[in-house]
């Protein structure tokens, strides 16, 4: 049976992880490759590395990091952050990334999805969506949640699906950082209306939240950052718990 996936997300700035100082007994928790390897050894199913650098120099450092991850870690990984055109995708895939995630740039110019799919295949293209719920419903945001687009979450996710995206990574801005659980209702609506896998993001605080993302939210994968980085939840312990709760995970 296809396993539900657990995906730690690492924010990388100038070649160093941003969070994660409190992680385990790692001597170099600031080194994304070493942190990624530790997660892989604990049983993470995939890794996501997000480049949050703004400078050109930082981008080069990130590409070098991607090469090291590809050489040293034997599970799939996605890279994102600052991808605005096909040349960025090409550069990161050539460095060894398995998938790229696009967010604001795809909202601004949805044809980017078609281009990635045509050149590299659906499996490479993760469309990340940051959305916030208010009285009128769920709306997509740009630039890490600073700019509203007025586009509805479900409508945009459908379009990304139809343009050939391989996966949707949905972050609820209402839930992100609050640690009260994932946006299960919206997740379930995405999961049942799309033909591609959905990754839940934003809101993990306890192990039961992951279970709910899978059982109530019908997500195919769940992504989290701080609960893993600060050692609040261990990946092995989380997967043992999920297996006991009846969720199929890779142990």
């Amino acid at each position: 049976m296809l396993a539900k996936r657990i995906i730690p997300c690492l924010d990388v700035k100038d070649g160093q992880t941003v969070k994660g100082t409190n992680f385990l007994n790692l001597r170099h928790a600031g080194d994304p490759v070493e942190l990624g390897r530790a997660y892989s050894e604990q049983g993470a199913d995939e890794l996501v590395f997000l480049d949050i650098t703004a400078s050109h120099e930082g981008r080069k450092t990130f590409a070098q990091m991607v090469q090291r991850v590809a050489a040293e870690i034997s599970i799939p990984f996605t890279v994102g952050g600052g991808i605005s055109e096909l040349a960025d995708v090409e550069r990161l895939l050539a460095a060894g990334a398995d998938k790229v995630s696009v967010n604001s740039s795809a909202l601004r110019r949805p044809e980017l999805i078609d281009e990635i799919v045509r050149h590299f295949g659906s499996q490479v293209c993760v469309v990340a969506i940051d959305a916030r719920q208010d009285e009128t419903g769920w709306t997509c945001y740009l630039n890490g949640g600073r700019v509203s687009t007025g586009r509805g979450l479900f409508e945009w996710a459908r379009e990304a699906n139809d343009r050939g995206a391989g996966e949707i990574l949905f972050t609820s801005m209402n839930h992100d950082g609050v640690k009260t659980g994932f946006a299960c209702e919206a997740l379930a609506r995405l999961a049942t209306s799309l033909s591609i896998p959905v990754i839940a993001s934003g809101g993990a605080g306890e192990m039961s939240h992951f279970r709910d993302a899978f059982t109530l939210g019908l997500a195919d994968a769940a992504l989290a950052a701080s609960v893993f980085h600060f050692g609040e939840i261990g990946i092995k312990e989380l997967k043992t718990y999920l297996r006991k709760e009846g969720t199929n995970v890779r142990l």
């Binding site: 049976m1 296809l2 396993a3 996936r5 892989s40 199913d45 590809a70 050489a71 040293e72 034997s74 599970i75 799939p76 895939l93 060894g96 398995d98 590299f120 295949g121 659906s122 499996q123 490479v124 391989g166 996966e167 999961a191 049942t192 799309l194 033909s195 591609i196 896998p197 019908l218 195919d220 994968a221 890779r250």
Partner: protein, 196 residues
């Protein structure tokens, strides 16, 4: 050991080279006929679209070459599919090493997402590629087309229906999943292949 990886217009070829490097093997990436024929092991990896890959292979005579190799050959993902008779992807005739068609997944229910993406389990792993395996091991898949269970199936996986996770005939081996991305389980499979 002299390992050659077939160079063609498919993606994700470097991850195989990296995985071999982690096992201490420096493989050569090549489309040179002599180098491929002389290698102790040949790996035919990749990710891509079947009809484009086939026309690339034909233009360079690699289709005949791969079919006639005598040493152990391992096809991975699209490599496995190209070793079959025909693919529904692009409606194209393939190498025909395994006389079985490649079909598109047809979802039966809402939870059947295509591509089949993620970690799934091996059932009834047989053949020397899976020496030491008991069944139930997780490996990493990413694909929208599959090889049905056939006389050359040496491991099955369940998704929508049972399909061929791996094939074996004579010196030809193939896996639908990516051993190079399947953690320590994948490393064991690659090592088994190198030790055949």
């Amino acid at each position: 050991m002299n390992v050659a990886v077939v160079k063609y217009n498919a993606g994700n070829i470097y991850s195989v080279l990296h995985a071999l490097q982690r096992l201490g093997v420096d493989a050569v990436l090549t489309d040179d006929a002599e180098t491929l024929k002389r290698a102790d092991r040949v790996i035919f990896p990749g990710q891509g679209e079947a009809s484009h890959a086939m026309s690339y292979l034909r233009e360079r005579g690699l289709d005949c070459l791969i079919r006639e190799l005598k040493q152990p050959v391992l096809g991975i993902c699209i490599g496995q599919q190209l070793m079959c008779r025909h693919s529904e992807e692009g409606d194209v005739d393939c190498l025909g090493i395994f006389d079985v068609p490649v079909l598109r997944f047809r979802p039966q229910e809402a939870q059947h997402k295509v591509p089949h993406m993620g970690w799934n389990q091996l059932e009834r792993p047989a053949a020397s590629l899976f020496r030491g395996f008991l069944g139930g091991e997780f490996v990493y898949f990413v694909h929208s087309f599959y090889v049905p269970v056939c006389p050359w199936t040496v491991a099955e996986t369940q998704y929508i229906e049972s399909f061929s996770a791996a094939l074996h005939r004579d010196n030809f081996y193939a896996t639908q999943f990516h051993p190079e991305k399947s953690g320590s389980v994948g490393e064991r499979i690659l090592r088994n292949f190198l030790e055949l």
